[in-house]
Amino acid sequence: MTREGWIRLLVVALFIAALEAACRGGLIPRTVLIAPSAMADSLWHLLRSGEYAADIISTLRNVVAASVLSVVLGFALGVGLHALPRLRRAVEPLLASYYAIPTFMFYPVFIVVFGVSPRAIIAIAVLLSIVAMIAGTLTGLDRIPPVLRKTAQILRMSAPTRALLIDLPAAAPHLFTGIKLAFAYAFIGVIASEFILSGSGIGYAIAYAYNNFENRKMYGLMLLVIVLATAANTVLDLIDRRLQARLQR
């Protein structure tokens, strides 16, 4: 691990230790926040009991579905926009200001279209995450050095072969950044949607625990979300860094 990595770990450890001390010492009332060790204990018991297994599976299934849809559709739309410069010039300002729109306000529309179902949750998550993949695809295709395309010509490669053997690997670092962001937004979209339009999933379970004053369960589930998001992001970040290292010319 790098020096910065150790410092980062130390900062997190100090924060958790301070929070633990504040909770145990009564500085923060138990009705407001439970100690991190109690959260971990609660999470351990929740996982062992299997009480929320169906919710966890439901959330993960929705996150995977939304991520895959965002990546596939976002990539296709990115390639399409890249191939049509005039359309791209018209649409790009809209993409740039896309995240200024609170996407969740459209949830009634999705309920009308899909009903109260995982499809509505996935649709909102895709809406939230797809633009990150479109942007990643456009950046990736823009950054392919023109000399690589000339090299492909000299090697007398057909357009599909060039796309597969030159364009795709050359754009891969930026495409993967798009995938990483799309996954993060899909995760946020699914959890947040489960709060408001679902009868299952981790988001719903957190909301249910909150409404019933089950603080230990609520914080245990929150910790689960943090652990899942951090683990997934760490793996994606690791791959991302390896790909980005290629760009250091």
Binding site: P145, K150, T151, I154, R156, T161, L165, R246, R249
Partner: protein
């Protein structure tokens, strides 16, 4: 018809070649020509000229990467229409594939051409050794210096055994010492492969040191205003820079080039 296998046969021919671009403003930009040139089989020909005179455009047309607006280009007696078989190009920019190891970079074109694995291994080993990359065979381009990456690109071209090698300022981004050494490697490669070489360069000393003939181009639209024969022996290296004739060659090149460069700067030669 001339026997194309004869050592002095014309390998590539350009007749009345021009290239114009339509600008967004609606005007037309004449970038090149008309250019007439015969490249003889096995010769080392360098092109020098002021910035923007159309040197790279000339290379693009000869390589089949761009279509001339007017004129005819032939390679080995056949008209050039698209990239012909038997031509290799090394560009100024780093064209190594960042996602592949040095070995896979060099083998890339051979794999595409369907050459069998044993032959690929033999040619790649040779090219990697020839370019002094053996220790770095499993490294990725990001781990190499600019000069080494350029050697990877040269090796990738070399393994395909092109009969005409086009070099577009391949050492443009390198320091002077590395350029001289790379020049020696290029001469070695040229002697060994017996290929015809066309080198585009800004550096007069590089052109004078490496070439049998140096073509001097005018300001845009570039045409050849002089062709200087260096008369170096085929067995030569960077030490020709200390030959008494070397100064005379570079002086003649500069004399021609100076007036053209001044035209671009809007001044007139005294």
């Amino acid at each position: 018809m001339t026997d194309p296998s004869r050592p002095d046969a014309v390998h590539a021919r350009l007749r009345g070649v021009t290239r114009s671009f339509d600008l967004a403003s609606g005007t037309k930009l004449d970038a090149l020509g008309p250019v007439d040139l015969d490249l003889h089989r096995g010769e080392f020909f360098a092109v020098v000229g002021p910035s923007g005179c159309g040197k790279s455009t000339l290379l693009d047309c000869l390589a089949g990467l761009a279509r001339p607006t007017q004129g005819d280009i032939s390679f080995e007696g056949r008209p050039v229409d698209g990239v012909p078989e038997g031509i290799g190009v090394v560009f100024q920019e780093d064209a190594s594939f960042a996602w592949l190891s040095v070995r896979d970079n060099v083998a890339f074109g051979l794999r595409r051409a369907g050459v069998d694995a044993a032959e690929i291994a033999r040619r790649v080993d040779y090219a990697i050794g020839f370019m002094g990359l053996r220790e770095f065979a499993h490294a990725h381009p990001a781990q190499l210096s600019g000069g080494m990456r350029q050697r990877v690109c040269i090796a990738r071209t070399l393994v395909l055994q092109p009969r005409l090698i086009l070099l577009d300022e391949p050492f443009g981004a390198l320091d002077q010492q590395t350029r001289l050494l790379m020049g020696d490697e290029l001469l070695r490669l040229w002697r060994e492969t017996k290929a015809t070489v066309l080198l585009i360069t800004h550096a007069l000393d590089e052109a004078a040191m490496l070439s049998d003939r140096v073509g001097v181009m005018s300001a845009r639209p570039g045409t050849f205003i002089d062709i200087v024969e260096t008369q170096w022996a085929r067995e030569r290296d960077s030490r020709v820079v200390s030959d008494p004739r070397f100064g005379g060659i570079t002086a003649r090149l500069w004399e021609k080039l100076r007036a053209e460069s001044l035209k671009i700067m809007g001044a007139s030669a005294p």
